[in-house]
């Protein structure tokens, strides 16, 4: 197992946003997370990355207890993430965004990271814009940059937060192809997404979250056939 969550909970005052969440992810697996807005999906990511600390429970990454570890330590251990709303370093260029992620996420000299950053830029179709200031990018390129910057940290576990949201069908298809290629090289992926057909084309299992609780976990076919999931998530009465 690369990641294991045991009874992880997070509350803000009386509001419980993550409620005794338990699941595990195998090395090399792609897991999709779905659930209605406000189900606690992004909070769950923040708990895994360390941007938010859990009130209770235990999070293990690569067999080590990281429940209290700060975000920067988890990145260096191999947890890379993208944000739902792209958060580029706007004053830096696309290349500098990746260079920062590579130099600090992996630790090392800038000069040693150049070729790898260029390779990631090429894979995410950003190479042409390497020297463009990130603040001037379009939404698609910002999403690509989120993915590229997360990749630059050298992750073993890649967390993608609604990376296909807001894209056109063609843009989404291109991005999915990139994610598939990354996954095919052995990177473990956990992906929150509302664009279900994109998600299902990549992941092997789906986890359904509602009111901070895990409702169901299983293969995409089994999950999509589940009456409970269709009622909660898709709003369909079966």
């Amino acid at each position: 197992m690369i990641l294991r969550l045991d009874d992880v909970s997070k509350s803000y005052g009386a509001l419980k946003v993550t409620d005794a969440v338990t699941f595990a992810v195998s090395r090399g697996e792609a897991l999709g997370i779905i659930g209605p807005n406000g189900a606690g999906k992004s909070t769950l990511f923040n708990l895994i990355t360390g941007n938010v600390l859990a009130n209770a429970g235990r999070i293990e990454f690569l067999g080590r207890d990281v429940t209290r570890a700060p975000a920067m330590d988890r990145v260096r251990m191999g947890v890379g993430r993208s944000f739902q709303i792209p958060q580029p370093f706007e004053g830096l260029t696309v290349f500098e965004n990746l260079l920062t992620a590579a130099a600090f996420g992996r630790g090392g000299r800038e000069a040693d990271m150049v070729d790898d950053c260029a390779r990631i830029l090429e894979e995410t179709e950003l190479l042409k814009k390497a020297n463009v200031v990130a603040g001037s990018l379009s939404l698609l390129d910002r999403k690509r940059l989120e993915l590229a910057r997360a990749m630059a940290t050298g992750p073993e576990l890649l967390l993608l937060d609604e990376i296909a949201g807001g894209l056109t069908e063609g843009e989404c298809k291109a991005l999915v192809a990139t994610i598939k290629a990354i996954h095919a090289r052995g990177t473990t992926i956990i992906w929150i997404e509302h664009v279900l057909h994109a998600l299902i084309s990549v992941v092997e299992r789906l986890l359904v979250l509602d009111f901070g609780r895990v409702i169901s976990i299983g293969t995409p076919d089994a999950i999509m056939a589940s009456k409970e999931v269709r009622e909660i998530y898709l709003g369909l009465e079966v």
Binding site: P70, M72, E90, T100, R106, D115, L127, K128, A130, V132
Partner: protein, 349 residues
């Protein structure tokens, strides 16, 4: 196949011009009056303080209005070294840096718990508390202050050689020495900040400035970075304070901890010049010196004029005068941008 470069033609030209200016500045006391040397000393020390405040606020996002605490403690540490320990004033300047560093540790401990405007107010409060505490130090003149003893000012390291070299009196020799030390300090501080920005830490600073949550998510230790910037700025501000008051040879808590002189003017310089650039404080200090020379006789009108100019610049050129020049010309005298060169890459910037 791919290469990283920060070098530009403008950057190389700047380096050559900077070396030429510094070399030309060294023998200047031989051909100019004492008044000019004093003016240059003022410009160089204000530029040093402005570069340091710019490092804090423009790069580190730490908008402090309490930097006078470090000017003051640095100056008082220098006086203490001379009066209480009998140190030569030049060596005692180093004590100013140490004192600035030591004061910065508890200051950061408390102030870093505050954010934004509260951080700014917090640093100001700490500076005021430090001023009130220093005013209780009777050995160093209490609230009214004191002067460097005659035997200390007449024996400052190197002044005998300067007197012999330029044929000047003791006070003028002290001014020349202070000017040279200020020149050395501004070169070290500006060069040091430029080196810092070109290092890995420069990338981290820019990342934190743009988005601290995203910076943490790529492995930047934002807390340690803020500590480092704050301590570096405090130590160098302490050194500058000690140097300023070695030149005046007289100190009082009100002068050494003056928020107007050591923080408000410094913020004005950085804001009108251009925050977040090394060029900005250089442009700003020139504008500030011209305004000061032209308006110094008009009392409070002087301060009001500075305020109005600062507001106008903030409204119409929020990145300062250098920002205006740079955006129109694309000029960067101190380039820090890392460019990727290689196949399939378009020009971009």
């Amino acid at each position: 196949m791919y290469k990283l470069t920060t070098r530009t033609r403008a950057g190389t030209t700047t380096a050559i011009v900077a070396v030429a200016l510094v070399l030309a500045g060294l023998p200047l006391p031989a051909v100019t009056s004492r008044g000019v040397i004093q003016d240059l000393f003022f410009i160089l020390t204000m530029l040093t303080l402005a570069q340091l405040w710019n490092l804090l606020a423009g790069y580190g996002g730490l908008v402090s209005v309490g930097q006078q605490a470090f000017v003051g403690i640095g100056a008082y540490a220098m006086f203490a070294g001379v009066i209480l320990a009998g140190w030569n004033p030049v060596w005692a300047i180093l004590l100013g840096g140490v004192a600035g560093l030591l004061l910065a540790i508890p200051t950061a401990f408390f102030a870093f718990r505050l954010q934004g405007a509260y951080f700014a107010i917090g640093t100001w409060v700490i500076a005021e508390v430090t001023r009130l505490l220093i005013a209780q130090w009777k050995t160093l003149g209490g609230g009214t202050g004191t002067s460097l003893p005659r035997e200390a000012t007449s024996n400052i390291l190197g002044t005998d050689a300067i007197r012999a070299l330029f044929g000047v009196r003791e006070a003028a020799a002290r001014d020349i020495l202070a000017y040279w030390l200020a020149l050395l300090l501004v070169v070290i501080v500006t060069g040091g900040i430029y080196w810092l920005l070109k290092s890995r830490l420069g990338l981290a600073l820019a990342a934190v400035r743009d988005n601290s949550e995203a910076a943490r998510s790529v492995g930047v230790d934002t807390g340690r970075l803020k500590w480092a910037v704050f301590l570096i700025a405090a130590a160098a501000t302490g050194l500058t304070g000690a140097l300023i008051f070695m030149q005046t040879a007289r100190i009082s808590p009100d002068a050494a901890f003056a928020v107007t002189d050591w923080t408000a003017y410094v913020i004005f310089i950085v804001v009108i010049g251009g925050i977040g650039t090394i060029e900005g404080p250089i442009v700003g200090v020139i504008v500030f010196f011209i305004l000061r020379s032209a308006l110094a006789d008009y009392g409070s009108w002087y301060l009001m004029t500075l305020g109005v100019i600062a507001i106008i610049v903030m409204l119409f050129a929020p990145k300062g005068l250098w920002g205006l020049i740079s955006s129109r010309s694309g000029l960067h005298l101190f380039p820090v941008r890392r460019r990727l060169t290689g196949p399939k890459i378009e020009g971009g910037i």
